[in-house]
């Protein structure tokens, strides 16, 4: 799949609207993952998700139309709000093995919503998110 010219990548961040203890948040995000993995496998979507107390960041990869449809479905979800699209364009798949890789809660070094949603910083922020996801997946692969 890598290098497929038909593949598009969308990166967005949104504000976490979930409330609860860390364990409750993990459980709720677990639900999100189960459903999204099932749908994504069906739709040929790959990608990765990470979250912390304040925000979600997600990468979606796949055909242009399908990615946009999935994005629209995600928009209807009340568990987040204030979505900002950081990047959308043709790009080789990086998470080709993952119907939705879960990078877990972002570490202490990860940026909060305010930092990532800073005006003018979309390109830097999307690069930063990609790096975060790549790094986490590398560590998981090595373990």
């Amino acid at each position: 799949m890598t290098g497929n010219p038909e593949s598009y990548r969308l990166i967005y961040i949104s504000r976490n609207a979930l409330r609860g203890t860390a364990a409750e948040l993990e459980a709720e995000v677990g639900h999100i993952l189960v459903v999204s993995r099932r749908n994504n496998a069906r739709d040929g979507i790959t990608g990765a998700l990470l979250f912390n107390e304040s925000c979600f960041a997600q990468v979606l990869e796949g055909g242009s139309d399908v990615v946009q449809e999935v994005f629209e479905r995600i928009q209807l979800d009340p568990r987040h709000c204030d979505t900002v699209v950081l990047a959308f364009g043709p790009a080789p798949r990086e998470f080709g093995e993952w119907s939705m890789a879960y990078a877990g809660a972002m570490g202490a070094d990860s940026a909060g919503y305010h930092h990532l949603a800073m005006p003018g910083g979309a390109e830097a922020a999307s690069g930063h998110i990609l790096d975060l996801l790549r790094g986490v997946l590398l560590r998981q692969g090595a373990a």
């Binding site: 946009q68 629209e72 928009q75 209807l76 709000c81 900002v84 699209v85 959308f88």
Partner: protein, 454 residues
């Protein structure tokens, strides 16, 4: 999803094709929601059933939401009509996702949607749905790889016993109007006061459209005093509307409406003609200041209107001063500046009005060689601001006028702080034309006395 589409179809018997018994409604082709005709028919049915069940002692209240998309035109213009259509389809899907199966969403036309809530609803439920809709619709959309952002304004009305479909839609429309007036991206409930306000507005509009033809406008003139010479320098012309029943209407109460209705252009032309033909009767040293509305620039009608007023009255250009606000410069600045230059070529003076209340941008102050800057009345007691603006204006070669002078003490301080001219109630209220000769004579006599005392 299929069941939901099923739910928006009319009950058996109503509006069915004679031969095939299928529904007559075509629906909205673009969004697959109900269209206006179907919505009205279903609303009418719901109100009838509601009236019967209320009669039987049951509780069933029908509510209607009117939804307008904010900034939809910008998407249409920016991304093209196919993108606009795709956006409308997505809005329709988001609408459906937030509604109960028994609610009926419809597209009434353009970017106008409506929802019929026909199961028992109270204000709390409707409020929750409306909150959700405003949030959902204003979330970003991805269309053909571009991000589009719009908002939603919603008006809500509950049917009272005996309310017809058109009345109910009208009430929801008034509530929609209110939510837009309060800043869009929100919802508002209908309340009877809105009806009264709308009626009063319609009546005012009717009268305002006739006012020019009936000669109901008058100019009042407020003296302006030169602080250095301590003499009369001229008058600012201020419009008044003398209505046979309402009495003297203040500009704040009708100018915004005149701007909305596009009447301001012709009213502005009348003001220019009337002020110039009055000022030409005054002693030569006295000038007249006229306020100009932004729309007069945007329509390109100002320069010809000024030239015509000067030609008709014979008033020399330098005795006319036009007062413009910063707002006028904000939209299409280069074109406005081009017109200001054309006005200068007629010899007319240009003043920047209400300085300090808007953006007070130094860029704007420097964008054009204004002859005068007028410090807004709200700063009459603010020595720091007055001194700063006076110094700034003076060093840019502009006269500096202080407005809203109400006491002798203020007048003394404004002179000290470097203002060159003052106007306000302390000097004189705006006066009607018959009072002008008296004021002019008194000032001439006073300066003659001063002259002979020297």
């Amino acid at each position: 999803m299929d069941s939901m589409i099923g739910a928006v179809r009319p009950a058996a018997g109503a509006g069915r094709c004679q031969s095939c018994a299928g529904p007559l409604w075509q629906g909205d082709e673009l969004t697959k929601l109900a269209d206006r005709r179907e919505f009205l028919a279903r609303l009418s049915d719901a109100l009838t059933v509601s009236a019967q069940s209320n009669h039987d002692g049951g509780e069933r209240r029908v509510a209607v939401m009117m939804i307008d998309l904010d900034r939809f035109k910008a998407v249409n213009d920016g991304l093209g009509h196919p993108a606009g259509d795709a956006l409308l389809r997505k809005v329709a899907a988001r609408l459906r996702s937030a509604l109960r199966e028994t609610d009926m969403p419809a597209r009434l036309g353009g970017d106008e949607f409506a929802v019929l809530l026909d199961k028992p609803v109270d204000e709390c439920v409707v409020e929750a749905i409306a909150t959700r809709l405003v949030d959902l619709i204003s979330r970003p959309y991805m269309i053909d790889g571009s991000v589009a952002n719009i908002g939603a304004s919603i008006g809500i009305a509950f049917a009272a016993p005996g309310t017809g479909p058109d009345d109910l839609l009208g009430q929801a429309d008034l509530a929609l109007y209110k939510s837009k007036a309060e800043g869009r991206g929100r919802f508002a409930f209908f309340e009877p006061a809105l009806q009264e306000a709308a009626r009063a507005r319609r009546a005012l509009e009717f009268d305002l459209r006739a006012a020019l033809a009936l000669g109901q406008f008058e100019l009042f003139y407020q003296p302006k005093i030169h602080l250095g010479e301590n003499c009369l320098s001229g008058f600012e012309a201020l419009i008044r509307w003398r209505h046979p029943l309402r009495g003297l209407v203040r500009p704040d109460d009708f100018i915004p409406m005149a701007e909305d209705l596009g009447l301001i252009i012709r009213i502005g032309e009348w003001v220019l003609r009337a002020a110039c033909s009055e000022a030409v009767n005054w002693p030569e040293g006295l000038s007249v200041a006229v306020n100009v509305a932004p729309a007069q620039f945007y329509t390109g009608s100002l320069v010809p209107a000024v030239a015509a007023a000067l030609a008709a009255s014979g008033l020399p250009g330098p005795r006319l001063e036009l007062e413009i606000t910063e707002t006028a410069l904000l939209r299409n600045g280069p074109e406005v500046l081009r017109q200001l230059a054309a006005l200068k070529a007629l010899g007319v003076k240009i003043a920047l009005d209400d300085f300090g209340t808007g953006y007070s941008s130094l860029t704007q102050l420097r964008s054009f060689p204004f002859d005068r800057v007028k410090i807004d009345r709200s700063f009459a007691d603010d020595g720091v601001v007055v001194r700063a603006v006076a110094a700034l204006g003076t060093s840019l070669g502009m006269c500096v006028t202080a407005e809203g002078v109400e006491t002798a003490e203020q007048m003394r301080r404004l002179r000290q702080d470097g203002c060159t001219e003052a106007q306000g109630y302390h000097l004189s209220r705006p006066v009607p034309v018959p009072a002008l000769p008296g004021i002019i004579r008194r000032h001439l006599e006073a300066s003659n006395v001063e002259e002979s005392n020297r």
